[in-house]
Every structure is written in structure tokens, then in C-alpha cells.
């Protein structure tokens, strides 16, 4: 019998993504939605699921979820409800999770990323629903001491969790990782999640199978496997690649298409490992939670949330390139971060040139942000002041290089007119030709050799002359100095 030969194959990956929402309080109670602290310190009687307690919906969490839904082009349910998903596990205090079953808050959207092949790749979003997170089971004591039992930390329990489910529209490990990264940027842009991967704010579960075409043109479809709980983009990419290869190898070696199952990821060996078959899946016994009332989303509420989101990153990028005339690279950096984009737009609205402001943010701003290990969006600059600084440069009152950087740095601490700060720092330059000409004349009188060098064809001497004038007379505009010098030397 002929060996199985995989002539070609098609990869199908759908994703389930859990995003923890950065609300002040938990999903169904006023307990702080915080991280860290002593185990079981971020809890109250509702989080603990004590007898008699009742959940109360966190409206902000619903709003955050609707924002994500809108940004993903989803339909937003006009009417939805809460359901109980039952399963027994010690990190789930009530032994049911409040979730959404058949009426997700958001459904039928799409999200486009730049595919590995350079083409736009549109991933359909099946649904995004809101639920509460579980606690954590720990098998060693805080500090890493071995214990002969497990302990439960419920700090995470009750955190609002948005579960986004896509259709199986991704077709390569690289695209899977890109999708994850773009989604991270999106929720950060919307300000609904800190989306710090190492903190577990986002967790990914790719569902993977391959359609194999053999030497006879017959298509074999492997069973879908789900890799649980991946929380870095690198792992997401490597785990997806490993699982694709594993399914192909299994078919080639045994002819088996496998069974629907879940896998885990072992970072040490760089491989996925079998966890359980889906036939053993839990019987979740979903039913509507009688402790909560249905959620009605009206048009006015949606309009408010749309207005709060404002312009989406893609639209903003397009506008920066087309209307503001910024280069692609700069526009991408500025549009990718909500706060930075607002700073730029604010300064432009205050009358500054877009290119000048973009340069200030991307040169000085970025340098300072790097030095201080701050996100670019957290520079604490006022758009109006930034516009003033841009205007000083445009009016030749300050040099765009180091002096402007110094003023910008000061503007982060001090809310004062840029010109006042530049004056205080002694950075205002003069473009008045009177003193400049006087300085040039004095220099020429003192340095006849340089003059001869220049006239003899050593253009480099010009730079040295400008430097000498700038050193001698403070606050002169170097550009004007250079212009006047060239003119005067040319004359002679």
C-alpha cells in the first residue's frame, strides 16, 4: 500500500481570547479589581460566594465590552442576559461562573490585520461575551514552599473577562501572533484593558486543524485541537506551529486524524501536550441567572459609547497620512496610541503645524519617554503648550534640536507658556541681522586665515566659522548666521 503523502495542506485556526477589563471594581460586586496584594485580599462576601450574597452588574464592564465590540465591527445585542455556567472546581467559589450563553453582548464582527503575505487578512469575529474570571489554585505556598495540599487565591475571582471568539480564518502561526498583537493594541487604544501579557491580562487559545490533500487529491481534515491558556505572542506562534506540525506528522505516520481534544503548552520542551478529549467535556447546565436582570442596550447608550471611542486607529492613520501629510512610519506611531494621537490632534487644533508637532513628539518626546521608561502617551504634555513650542520653532525663536527638547522636557513638569520657559532657560535665539552682521564682521577681522580657507574652496571652513560665532555671541539663530556669513564671504 502506498504511503500517505501530503501534497498540500491548508491551516485553519480560530481563536478564543480572554481579555481582563481594567474596571475599578469587579464584574458583580464593588470589591477592588486589583492585582497583587496578599492572597485573598481583593475579595468581599460576593467574591467569596458566601450564602445569601447576590451579584450586581458592573455597568462600566459592559460599556468596555461594547466598545471592543464596536471597534471590531460587531453587532451589539439590544437585549442580552446573564447565564450560569456550572462546573465544580475549587477556584470557582459558587461552582458556577456567571457568563453569557446564547445571547452574547457582541456578535458578527471582523478584524483586519496585515497578513504574513503582505495582504490584508480579515478575521471574522463570531462573538464576544462578558463573564467573571475564576480564582487561582496554587500548589505551593507563597514564597515557593512545598505544601501537601492546594490553596486557593480568589484575588482574581470576579474580574470582568471579555471572551472574544473568532471564526477559523487564520492560516499561519505568524498571522495568529499578529492577530494577537493587533488585538492587544486595540484594547489598549480603547483604554479597556492594560493588556499586559505577563500579567495574564490577555490569554489566547488557538483552535487548530489542517485540511490535508494527499497524492490522490483526497482531502483529509484533522480533528480540531485547542491549546489552552497561552499568554505570550512568541508562545502563541510557536505553539500553533508545533501543533500544525504535530497533526501533519500524526496523519503521515499513522493515518489518524485525531480526536477533538485540548492540549497544553510546555515551554521547557517547546511542545504541546495532550490534556483531554472533548467528548469528556463538561456538562455545563447553562441557564439564565435569576439573580440578575436582563441588559437592554438602547441607541442613546450606543451613541454615547461610539462618541467616547472617537476615531478608530485605522481611520486616524489614514487621516494622518492623507490630511496631515505625515509619512507612513510617523503616522503609524502616532495613530497607534490613543493618547499620543489626541496630543497631536490637540496641538494641530491649537494652530500648530502637524509635521512640526509630529517631529517634536517623535524625536524629543520619544527620547524622553525612553529615558524615563514611560509609554509615549504618558508624557503629560498639554496640546496647547506643545503648539506654542512648535510655533516658536516655526518663527525661528528657538532651535528645533536640543533647545526645543529642553523646553519640551520642562513643559512636562510646568504648565507655563513655552516662550516664557524658553526665555527662562535662555534658549530664545535672535534672528536680527544687526548683531549677527556685527559678530560676523568682528570674526572676519580676527580670523583672516579662515576667510582665506573658505575663499580657497574649503567649504568645511564655513561650519567652523558658524561655530565660532555661535560660541562668541549667545542666542543667535545659527541658520541666519550661516546665511549671512555665506552672503558676506561671497561678496568679498
Amino acid at each position: 500500500m502506498a504511503a500517505r503523502v501530503c501534497k498540500s495542506y491548508k491551516v485553519l485556526v480560530g481563536m478564543e481570547i480572554h481579555v481582563q477589563l481594567a474596571t475599578h471594581s469587579k464584574m458583580f460586586t464593588g470589591a477592588a479589581n486589583g492585582f497583587g496584594g496578599e492572597p485573598n485580599s481583593q475579595v468581599d462576601e460576593v467574591v467569596l460566594g458566601l450564602p445569601g450574597t447576590l451579584p450586581v452588574m458592573n455597568k462600566r464592564a459592559v460599556e468596555y465590552s461594547i466598545k471592543v465590540g464596536l471597534a471590531l465591527g460587531c453587532q451589539i445585542a439590544k437585549h442580552t442576559k446573564w447565564d450560569r455556567k456550572s462546573y465544580y472546581y475549587p477556584d470557582l467559589p459558587k461552582n458556577y461562573q456567571i457568563s453569557q450563553y446564547d445571547l452574547p453582548l457582541c456578535y458578527e464582527g471582523e478584524f483586519t490585520i496585515a497578513g504574513e503575505d503582505g495582504q490584508p487578512k480579515t478575521v471574522r469575529i463570531r462573538r464576544a461575551h462578558l463573564e467573571e474570571d475564576a480564582g487561582k489554585l496554587m500548589h505551593e505556598a507563597p514564597g515557593g514552599y512545598a505544601i501537601d495540599h492546594s490553596i486557593v487565591d480568589l484575588n482574581r475571582a470576579g474580574t470582568p473577562l471579555l471572551e472574544i471568539v473568532t471564526e477559523p480564518d487564520l492560516s499561519s502561526p505568524k498571522d495568529v501572533a499578529t492577530f494577537g498583537q493587533e488585538l492587544q493594541k486595540l484594547v489598549q487604544f480603547l483604554g479597556v484593558s492594560e493588556a499586559q501579557m505577563q500579567m495574564g491580562h490577555m490569554r489566547f487559545e488557538p483552535n487548530i486543524n489542517v485540511h490535508i490533500t494527499d497524492q490522490d487529491g483526497i482531502v483529509h481534515k484533522t480533528a480540531i485541537t485547542e491549546i489552552k491558556n497561552l499568554n505570550s505572542f512568541s508562545v502563541l506562534e510557536r505553539a500553533t506551529a508545533f501543533e500544525i506540525a504535530r497533526q501533519l506528522r500524526e496523519w503521515e505516520e499513522t493515518g489518524s486524524l485525531g480526536k477533538k481534544s485540548t492540549y497544553g503548552w510546555d515551554e521547557a520542551s517547546g511542545s504541546t501536550f495532550f490534556q483531554r478529549f472533548k467528548e469528556d467535556a463538561h456538562e455545563y447546565r447553562y441557564f439564565p441567572d435569576p439573580d440578575l436582570v436582563p441588559v437592554e442596550v438602547d441607541d442613546a447608550w450606543l451613541a454615547t459609547l461610539k462618541a467616547e471611542i472617537g476615531e478608530m486607529p485605522a481611520a486616524r492613520l489614514k487621516r494622518y497620512i492623507e490630511a496631515l501629510g505625515l509619512p507612513l512610519a510617523d503616522a503609524t506611531l502616532l495613530a497607534g496610541d490613543h493618547a499620543t494621537g489626541q496630543l497631536l490632534d490637540g496641538a494641530v487644533a491649537a494652530g500648530a503645524s502637524a509635521k512640526r508637532v509630529a517631529n517634536l513628539i517623535l524625536s524629543h518626546g520619544r527620547r524622553i519617554a525612553n529615558e524615563r521608561a514611560l509609554p509615549l502617551g504618558r508624557l503629560n504634555l498639554k496640546p496647547g503648550r506643545l503648539a506654542e513650542l512648535a510655533r516658536l520653532i516655526d518663527e525661528n525663536k528657538i532651535a528645533a534640536a536640543e533647545p526645543a527638547g529642553k523646553v519640551l522636557e520642562r513643559l512636562m513638569e510646568q504648565d507655563a507658556p513655552a516662550e516664557q520657559i524658553a526665555t527662562e532657560l535662555g534658549l530664545i535665539q535672535s534672528s536680527d541681522t544687526g548683531p549677527i552682521d556685527a559678530a560676523i564682521d568682528a570674526l572676519i577681522a580676527q580670523n583672516p586665515k579662515s576667510l582665506q580657507d573658505y575663499r580657497g574652496g574649503k567649504q568645511a571652513a564655513l561650519g567652523a566659522l558658524v561655530g565660532m560665532i555661535m560660541k562668541g555671541g549667545k542666542g543667535l539663530n545659527a541658520k541666519v548666521v550661516q546665511e549671512r556669513l555665506r552672503e558676506k564671504l561671497g561678496q568679498g
Binding site: 445569601g52 447576590l54 452588574m57 461552582n95 447546565r285
Partner: protein, 486 residues
């Protein structure tokens, strides 16, 4: 017969300084000490705490509509002191770290909670025999049950161990024991009283409500416990009327509905039927018009109830797994599943386990549509039936329980017989409407047993229902009789 054994008389006696709060509380505690061996109404008695609060009332430190009133609380309402057991081995030692909203409201009004009363485990039952700790006795005949599940609260009040008490009603658990113990018991409209801190049995059916000796006592209790609570999303943010204000004003043009289907219901005790018919005749004398109404889905009420309630219970009681709180098995276990199942098998009584299993089964995929979804469809139909009926009458009048108090042990071996005790009460919970039971007579014989009349009204009709109840009460003397206790 103890003095000042109604809420209003006790309140007035304190206000006029005829008696002190300390004296009133001392008498209640003495009465408990004296009768408790026979009645078995309390799971715990908070004597020291009660005396402390009574002293504070006398010192003027605590005031309010219920200042100094000895009140008993069903032991499924959480208190930040003592235990909250639900009469279950599972929660035998459970100490809640917080007060139920109703408890906060009672104490803010000055109530002196004397103790927490026995119930059918997790409020599942109609006789208080399903308690893991004790069987409460009916003060009118201690061979008989007080009804349930709020049997402890009913028996405590009927025995004069308090001047009013609090129960919870999921399918009749306030009204039926009120009927069997000769008291007034009100099941408020769903959402009228906060459920926060009421240990859930069936969340969409549970309501906290009062027992009183009189309609006015019940109205005063409603004034205190009603109202919206941010912590209970299902509580309703509408204003609470003063239920006492117009209580003495008879309702003009009162129309009372008689349900055709109830008349045909088999199993109504002839003495109950006679008493209820006489009560209807009395209302006619008082000027009421009697109209025939139809609740065609009534025969399915019990069936719908015994799907919805166990489904919700199976989920609500899932948290009792021996991990975070409550009973944990001391047997050796191999894994977490065994810890769960052994703890639950040991901690829950037979009736609770039966309902958890029914509910778990009915919610499972493949059965969900056949049972739960159909029960919810019935719920819609039952609500519609009531809406139709209430377009023709102000209230429906019927027996509360088809039978008077039965003997302990008589039905405990037959769950179906027990479930039929709820035939006239469950649809009220399914529809979410208000219902009240008032005394309307006694059986003949050596030890006469109380009979209860039920009045059902639309959502938020408590004010009207209380007035209708008061019209009858003012014309009769049943409420003045006391259980023959030494």
C-alpha cells in the same frame, strides 16, 4: 395568655411606658425557655445580645418603628452574629460575616432579634420536618407540624415567644405555616423586599416576608422591611407606601374572584372548604361582589414549580462543596471530586439531595428544553392567567392550604403528598404576585386547628391586600384566639 403579645400592642405599651423593652424581651426569653422543649422553634436564641439591645432601647440609644420589639428570624437570613444554619448540617457552624438587608432594616428600626428559627433544610419542605436539627411542633397541637418551611417562625409567634417574626416564601413557606398556626403571613410581590442575605433556595421565587398576629402587625413589619436595595438587582425601585395609613378604610366596590379550577381541586378538607365558603359569605355581607374567574393553567402549577425550584436550587446549592465553607467530610478522600461528593452526601439531607438531583437532571443538555424551558413557558401562561383574572377582580380568594395541620410523620415518607400541600400557594410565587394568609376559622374537635384564608393580588397590591384582609379581620374574632399552651 401573655400581655402585649401583638406587635402593635407591645409597641404602644413601650411608647406609653407601661412596660420596658428589657421587660418585654425578658418575658419573650422566659417564654422561649419555658416552651421551647415542647415547641422546638429555635435553632439558636440570642438572649445576651437581645437583652443588650433592649437595654439600649430603654436608654434611648436605639429608636424606631420597632424599638424594643422581640422578633424571631428564620435561620436562613444571614446575621453578622451567631450562626446561620438553614437547618442544615452543611451550615451547622456557618457564621456569616455580614447582615442580610432585611436584618439591617429590622435592627435600624429598633427590633430586638431574640433568636433564629427552625426551618425545613434550605427552606425545602412544608412541615419543618426536613430540619437536620429538630422537628418544630404546632402550638395548637404539639403532635402536629406547624407547616413549613418557615415553621419555626410561625410556631414561635403562635406560642408567644416573640411579637412578630420573619420567614421566607418560595412556594408557600410563609402563608402555609401562617394558616396552620392561626397567624397572618404575607408573601410580598417579588422584588418588594430585598433578598440580599437570604440564603437562596430558588432565586426567582424566594421572597422574605412577615408573620403577624394581626393584619396591622403584618403591615407594620412590611413598612420596615420593604424597599429597593442596590445589592439586590431584582428588588424594585418603586416607593413603599405606608401600609398602616389606610388600613382601617374598607375597600369600596371590592370584587373578589373565586377560581373555578380551585373549586374542583380534589383533596380539600371539608372543614377547610366550609370555613373558606363562610369567609366568602362574610365578604359578601361586607359589600364585596364575588366574581368567577378562571386560571386554566392552575393544574400545571405544581409541575412547573417542581421543575423551576429544583433547577435553581441545584445551582444555588452547588457552592456547598466542603472547600470554602460549610461541612467537609472527615473521611479519607482520593481526589477533589470525592471530597465534593462525600461532603455533600454527608452535609445535605434527603429532601435537599432529591431536589438537587431533580434540578441537575432537568438542566442537563437534552432535558433542558423538555423541562426547564417548558416550565418557563408555563410560567408565562400562569402570569397571563393571573393578569386576566385581576382584570375582573381586586383579589382572588381561596384556601391557603387544602388541609389543616397534619401529624408529624404523617406525610414525611411521601414527598408527593407533601408537595400537594402547596397546591394553592405555588402559583403566586411562579407569577411573582403578592399573597396573604389570614385566620378564617378552626376545625371542630378537642384540639381545634386553625384554618387559613388566602388572598392573592396583582404585583405591588400589598396595600390593597392588607386592607381587604383587615375588612374581614375587623368583622371576625379568629385572630384573637391563642394556642392552648400553659
Amino acid at each position: 395568655m401573655p400581655e402585649f403579645d401583638t406587635l402593635i400592642s407591645a409597641r404602644d405599651a413601650i411608647r406609653s411606658k407601661q412596660v420596658s423593652a428589657v421587660e418585654l424581651t425578658r418575658r419573650a426569653l422566659e417564654r422561649i425557655a419555658q416552651l421551647e422543649p415542647r415547641i422546638q422553634a429555635f435553632n439558636s436564641v440570642a438572649d445576651e445580645r437581645a437583652m443588650g439591645r433592649a437595654k439600649a432601647v430603654d436608654a434611648g440609644e436605639i429608636t424606631g418603628a420597632l424599638a424594643g420589639m422581640p422578633i424571631a428570624l428564620k435561620d436562613n437570613l444571614c446575621t453578622s452574629w451567631g450562626t446561620t444554619t438553614c437547618s442544615s448540617k452543611m451550615l451547622e457552624n456557618f457564621r456569616a460575616p455580614y447582615d442580610a438587608t432585611v436584618v439591617k432594616k429590622l435592627e435600624a428600626a429598633g427590633a430586638v432579634i431574640v433568636g433564629k428559627t427552625n426551618l425545613d433544610e434550605f427552606a425545602m419542605g412544608s412541615s419543618t420536618e426536613n430540619s437536620a436539627f429538630k422537628t418544630t411542633r404546632n402550638p395548637w397541637d404539639t403532635d402536629r407540624v406547624p407547616g413549613g418551611s418557615s415553621g419555626g417562625s410561625a410556631a414561635a409567634l403562635a406560642a408567644g415567644m416573640c411579637v412578630a417574626s420573619i420567614g421566607s416564601d418560595t412556594g408557600g413557606s410563609i402563608r402555609q405555616p401562617a394558616a396552620l398556626c392561626g397567624l397572618v403571613g404575607l408573601k410580598p410581590t417579588y422584588g418588594r423586599v430585598s433578598r440580599y442575605g437570604l440564603v437562596a433556595f430558588a432565586s426567582s421565587l424566594d421572597q422574605v416576608g412577615p408573620f403577624g398576629r394581626t393584619v396591622a402587625d403584618t403591615a407594620l413589619m412590611m413598612n420596615v422591611i420593604s424597599g429597593h436595595d442596590r445589592k439586590d438587582s431584582t428588588s424594585v425601585p418603586s416607593a413603599v407606601p405606608d401600609y398602616l395609613a389606610d388600613l382601617e378604610t374598607p375597600l369600596k366596590g371590592l370584587r373578589l374572584g373565586i377560581v373555578k379550577e380551585y373549586d374542583l381541586a380534589s383533596g380539600i378538607d371539608p372543614e377547610v372548604k366550609r370555613a373558606v365558603d363562610a369567609a366568602v359569605a362574610m365578604y359578601k355581607q361586607l359589600g364585596a361582589t364575588i366574581v368567577d374567574v378562571s386560571l386554566p393553567t392552575t393544574p400545571y402549577g405544581i409541575a412547573a414549580y417542581y421543575v423551576i425550584a429544583p433547577c435553581e436550587a441545584s445551582s444555588n446549592l452547588a457552592r456547598y462543596d466542603g472547600v470554602h465553607f460549610g461541612h467537609r467530610t472527615k473521611e479519607p478522600v482520593n481526589d477533589i471530586i470525592e471530597l465534593f461528593s462525600k461532603s455533600r452526601a454527608e452535609g445535605f439531607g434527603e429532601e435537599v439531595q432529591r431536589r438537587i438531583m431533580i434540578g441537575t437532571y432537568a438542566l442537563s443538555s437534552g432535558y433542558y428544553d423538555a423541562y426547564y424551558v417548558r416550565a418557563l413557558q408555563l410560567r408565562t401562561l400562569i402570569r397571563r392567567d393571573f393578569d386576566n383574572a385581576f382584570s375582573q377582580c381586586d383579589a382572588i380568594v381561596c384556601p391557603t392550604s387544602p388541609i389543616p395541620a397534619f401529624k408529624a410523620g404523617e406525610k414525611s415518607g411521601d414527598p408527593l403528598q407533601m408537595y400537594l400541600c402547596d397546591v394553592f400557594t405555588v402559583t403566586c410565587n411562579i407569577a411573582g404576585i403578592a399573597g396573604i394568609s389570614i385566620p378564617c376559622g378552626f376545625t371542630a374537635g378537642e384540639k381545634p386547628l386553625p384554618i387559613g384564608l388566602q388572598l392573592l393580588g396583582p404585583n405591588f397590591s400589598e396595600e390593597k391586600l392588607l386592607r381587604i384582609a383587615r375588612m374581614y379581620e375587623a368583622a371576625t374574632e379568629w385572630h384573637t384566639r391563642r394556642a392552648p399552651l400553659a
